[in-house]
């Protein structure tokens, strides 16, 4: 695995506010890193420092092994960047804008047109090829930004909220595009849409208040929840107490609690001891005692809940 993006102890203050505090991360070829965090957590600031638009107060970043601080031009050649809000020159058409990008990326003659056409086709822009960018819808503007970023087939792609403002079909297209390109690139996308992490990212980094609070695959993050791998089940309300007593005797069960009573049924949640799989033994024990189970499933934990758990300060205070 070749490491293509390296950030080393990046730090940035705006006045008294510490926007990014000691963030280090690496992304290897083939990885798609989902950069998550609440608004104002420092996602965009971190990306701006990695791409060389902002100078860090401390730390450095390397793109394809080239230091962005000491050789910015060399590093930027390997970089495709979609800034927040997908800015583009409003008075140009996608055709002239992409031709400009191709020229500045060093292409000549017929290559300029070929590159611009290919990028526009990938991003689905050909329908609005000759409309001024300021007249385009938000979704098309975003696609112009994406086309601009992938035009030179860069080794490193950094995109700040690439699917923001797109309708579900367009979101799907962009995700497919990212997935298709991910094999030979290192990609960072920032997002606050958690399904996106499940859909395209091989890894997720959650930052909060300028610090990394979690780094792992979507499954790693989900396993942080207490109810990860817990068993939820529903029995007739008369059988609730008996079921609880039965389950508590099953090996590997940490504890059992009632979650809700409704419509003559009662729901229970069974928490396992660490590294125990309890669905089968619990089901077997209930059957042995003749208790009818109306429903039984293993809870996986939702990424939203993980996100809330590690970034919601109010929740933390309430629990403390």
């Amino acid at each position: 695995m070749t490491t293509l993006i390296e950030a080393e102890a990046l730090r940035k203050c705006f006045g008294q506010i510490v926007a990014v505090d000691d963030i280090s991360l690496t992304v290897a070829k083939g990885e798609v890193l989902g950069f998550l965090g609440p608004n104002g957590a420092g996602k965009s600031t971190t990306m701006k420092m990695i791409t060389g638009f902002l100078e860090p107060d401390a730390g450095t970043a390397r793109i394809a092994g080239i230091d962005i601080g000491t050789d910015p031009i060399g590093a930027k050649r390997h970089l495709g960047y979609l800034p927040e809000g997908a800015p583009a020159y409003a008075d140009m058409t996608p055709r002239s804008f992409l031709a400009f990008i191709a020229e500045i990326r060093g292409y000549n003659g017929g290559e300029v047109k070929a590159r611009a056409d290919a990028a526009a086709e990938k991003a689905g822009l050909l329908g609005v090829w000759d409309q001024r960018i300021e007249t385009l819808s938000k979704g098309y503007k975003r696609r112009v930004g994406i086309a601009q970023a992938i035009l030179h087939d860069p080794a490193v792609l950094i995109m700040d909220e690439p699917t923001d403002g797109l309708d579900p079909n367009q979101q799907h297209q962009v995700r497919e595009l990212i997935k298709a390109m991910s094999k030979d690139k290192a990609i960072i996308i920032s997002t606050h849409i958690l399904q996106e992490v499940d859909a395209v990212c091989t890894r997720a980094v959650v930052i909060d208040k300028g610090r990394i609070v979690a780094d792992g695959t979507a499954q790693d993050l989900e396993s942080r929840l207490e109810y990860h791998n817990a068993v939820a089940l529903r029995v007739a309300s008369g059988a609730g107490d008996k079921a609880k007593a039965v389950i508590e005797r099953v090996a590997g069960v940490q504890r059992v609690e009632f979650t809700k009573k409704a419509g003559g049924a009662v729901s229970l949640r069974v928490y396992p001891k660490p590294d125990h799989s309890i669905a089968a033994p619990v089901a077997a024990a209930l059957r042995a005692d003749g208790i009818d189970v109306e429903e039984l499933f293993v809870e996986k934990g939702r990424l939203d809940d993980v996100f809330r758990k590690i970034t919601s300060h109010e929740g933390a205070r309430r629990n403390a």
Binding site: G52, L54, I73, G74, P83, E84, P87, Y89, R105
Partner: protein, 244 residues
């Protein structure tokens, strides 16, 4: 060099892709004509030269050049395209010089569109065309100096109105520093050498020589160094904002 030209080409396209270019050119040509004939008493002078025409250029530039310059960087910052431009493989200097050259070239085009004045004076009399050419070059260089000041100021703010007002005020100071009232006021509380220094920075004093048709090398050098200095300041401001 290649990048400078690509950026300049894009910028020029932006001028002519919007009404900006046409509005500016029409107003510039219209105003120079109006000033020459109404205030400059072009006909009453009875002289076959364009002195009355060039006389008002500093005052026109004072308003019109900051209007061109204000958008150079303030707009990039406001629309966020500066983030795009600065993460492309171009240096800050290339971006600044490219944008400057486009705006300067555009002002040059507007200046050339005043050619009917030159035809008029050649039809009416027998002017010294060498003098006229020298004056045009001087006027163009002065416009460049105004523009460099405006470009640097534009990099300070994302608000174009602020950029316009501050740049116009600063240009006004540079124009006025040669006028007697300013000189006399300065003499009251400043040592002689400073008064001299201020006066030597005056756009007006330098342009007077140019408008008389003297190819005055120190004056040409003055405008070129003003351009170089303020473009350098422009680079410093952009780099500074990157670190802030």
């Amino acid at each position: 060099m290649r990048n400078i030209l690509i950026i300049a080409k894009r910028e020029l396209g932006a001028y002519f892709g919007t009404p900006l270019a046409y509005v500016f050119a029409v107003i510039f040509v219209g105003l120079t004509g109006a000033f020459t004939f109404y205030f400059g008493n072009f006909f009453e002078n009875g002289q076959a030269n364009l002195a009355a025409f060039f006389l008002y250029h500093p005052w026109l530039y004072l308003i019109l050049v900051p209007a061109i310059a204000m958008r150079l960087w303030a707009e990039e910052r406001k629309s966020g395209t500066i983030e795009l431009l600065m993460t492309l493989p171009v240096t800050t200097t290339e971006a600044i010089v490219g944008k400057f050259l486009a705006a300067w070239g555009f002002i040059g085009v507007a200046l050339m569109l005043t050619f009917p004045m030159w035809i008029t004076v050649n039809v009416l009399g027998d002017p010294d065309n060498g003098v006229i050419l020298a004056s045009y070059i001087g006027s163009f260089l002065m416009a460049g100096a105004f523009l460099a000041i405006g470009s640097a100021i534009s990099a300070l703010s994302k608000n174009q109105v602020i950029a316009f007002i501050v740049a116009a005020a600063l240009c006004f100071l540079f124009v006025m520093s040669g006028v007697e009232i300013v000189q006399n006021t300065a003499k009251l509380f400043l040592p002689d050498f400073l008064v001299q220094a201020i006066s030597s920075m005056s756009f007006l004093t330098h342009f007077d020589k140019v408008a008389r048709g003297v190819i005055d090398l120190p004056s040409m050098f003055f405008y070129i160094s003003m351009i170089a200095f303020f473009l350098f300041a422009n680079v410093v401001i952009i780099e500074q904002k990157k670190a802030a």
